[in-house]
Symmetry: C2
Subunit: 345 residues, 2 copies
């Protein structure tokens, strides 16, 4: 972006939901192009209208096809839909990702559907930062529903689900060995389960497994550890009506469109639950806290590493020569970076 005038014009055009402007803003944000921060500041006051749905789950469960069907279901309800597909990208993956995306291209001519892969892997702030920024662009552009679809099932992807108002976890029957472990990891983030490919053997036993895990899990939950350590998390522990949301399990056959309406209704039921001012307060504050800290940490790391670049390079040489260690080097680097703490009398 060159010049303030252009930036303002871009903001206006995003707010009018001009597809090329939306695409350009998303690219600027994803590339951390000059002025991306100003752009986000300008768009932020126009956010808050979109309902954000996270879709995650085991590989091969058919998430893309299901998301495609969900788009259709929301369009049938006359809602506009933006989709961010978070892919574990690589220079070589163009083909595979493209294949997935192509499935969604039947919405290509529909101006009320906007689908974009988040191609950038490995920003400092992780997927979560990029996804959060891109969601804001779609939100400001006035999409009613924003779907964030992840491909992987790692910590970073689970983190992305913190950006969602409702997280749908997609499973498929009989996916093998250490799915158990992954199930356990995603149980905490799931607000709705979809057991897709429900016409396959083992669907009922997957449903039973999930029911059992949900029953086991209905105990007082701690805040997610990642943010539990932070000061800000403390601000989120007040409110909350206390009653728990029990994730419903919906059987779907995305390839045939079966169960999709039920899934959309289950998401709607969670939405009803979460928008309640009392009950949803905790989750809303946690979401904001996650967002602020994600932006804060990335910006801080980027700014610090810019300032300390030569000192970091020197430390690396010293560590390589085994004259220093990463822990002592870190103490020194931080010491030279932060303002001294006030001595309290």
């Amino acid at each position: 972006m060159s010049g303030e005038a252009t930036a303002e014009a871009l903001v206006d055009r995003v707010l009018k939901r001009e597809p090329r402007a939306v695409a350009r803003a998303m690219r600027a944000v994803d590339d951390r192009a000059s002025g991306f921060s100003a752009l986000l500041k300008a768009l932020y006051p126009h956010t808050g209208g979109a309902y954000v749905i996270g879709v995650t789950g085991t590989p091969g469960a058919g998430k893309s096809t299901l998301v495609d069907r969900m788009i259709g279901a929301y369009r049938a309800r006359d809602l506009s839909v933006g989709v961010v597909a978070v892919d574990p990208t690589s220079p070589f993956s163009g083909g595979a990702i493209l294949g997935d995306r192509i499935r969604m291209q039947r919405h290509f001519l529909d101006a009320d559907v906007f689908i974009r892969s988040l191609a950038t892997r490995g920003h400092l702030g992780g997927l979560s930062r990029s996804a959060g920024d891109v969601i804001h662009v779609l939100d400001a552009a006035g999409f009613d529903i924003v779907i964030v679809e992840t491909v992987g099932v790692g910590q970073d992807e689970l983190d992305v689900t913190q950006l969602a108002h409702t997280t749908v976890v997609v499973m498929a029957p009989g996916m093998g060995d250490d799915i158990q472990a992954i199930k356990a990891g995603i149980l905490e983030v799931a607000e709705v389960f979809a057991v897709n490919k429900a016409d396959r053997d083992g669907a009922d036993s997957t449903v039973r497994d999930l029911q059992q895990m949900i029953a086991l899990g209905r105990q007082p939950r701690a805040l997610p550890a990642r943010h539990g350590h932070s000061a800000a998390a403390a601000a989120t522990t007040h409110g909350g009506g206390g009653d728990e949301w029990t994730p419903p399990i919906v059987k779907t056959i995305a390839s045939k469109g079966e169960g999709v309406d039920e899934l959309v209704e289950a998401v709607g039921a969670h939405r009803e639950w979460v928008v309640d001012p009392e009950r949803g307060a905790d989750k809303r504050m946690r979401r904001l806290s996650h967002e602020l800290l994600t932006v804060f940490r990335e910006t801080l790391a980027r700014e610090s590493e810019r300032r300390l670049s030569s000192q970091i390079a020197e430390s690396l040489v010293a560590i390589a020569a085994r004259e220093d260690d990463p822990y002592s080097a870190t103490d020194r680097l931080i010491g030279s970076l932060l303002v001294p703490e006030e001595v309290r009398p």
Copy 2:
């Protein structure tokens, strides 16, 4: 840990590889117990002897069983082995993880094998920071081989592989849909491929797919983007002989122990390649850079959030009231935290 004397005693006992001391040190590090940083500083000068092998790959590929067999193969070569299993943990997952671990318990009575699940999810620095610290403990304790096994396949897990000297990616035949995308994501980090469950249908076509992807991928590689943005990465671009390592593909049937010796030999071949002072220089510096920046970023975020806790809480309230946005709040928070930059004349 209470008092310096105890800390010193613990260091001594870790260096003698007393199992209870190793376990205690790992726990202190993983829990960020008081004094964990001093412990790591004291252990660091004794690290550098272990050869670190990362094992990652698609869920259900049989990684745990394969790791179990690898332990056996290294023990047969009279090498001691430490294993860190990085699990997407949750309060509810004890059972599943335990199941995996039990498979490895046949090494329980062998003092030269130490297996530990990294239970803590969600430290500020992500899995990568915790795993790195725990590897140092095992390294200092004098294990010849340290294996880091991940369960998930997300960005965070791929990050963990940066801690390894050699990364083994485990695939299984016919694992479905968006495996393609994941394959692409892990292609960049793989130094050895294991196609496990090689007696299953589709094993040969999985091998062919991989061969094709490897052939396509043999083009000049950029540094991993996550660290490519950092100043420190610049220090890693010199050296390097220029010739590329082509990941070999080994077929294994872990359940029967077949192909495991070949796998261990393939890892050995990569080790030969990577220890070459010229050729391996890039990778070694990248590994150190990853390590330093991971420690630096986590420590910086933790320290900053401690200092700014009340300001962060205030910002959250303002953002919730839509009187502020995360981007402007971040600028202000960072402004009050960092020493002013020197004005260059």
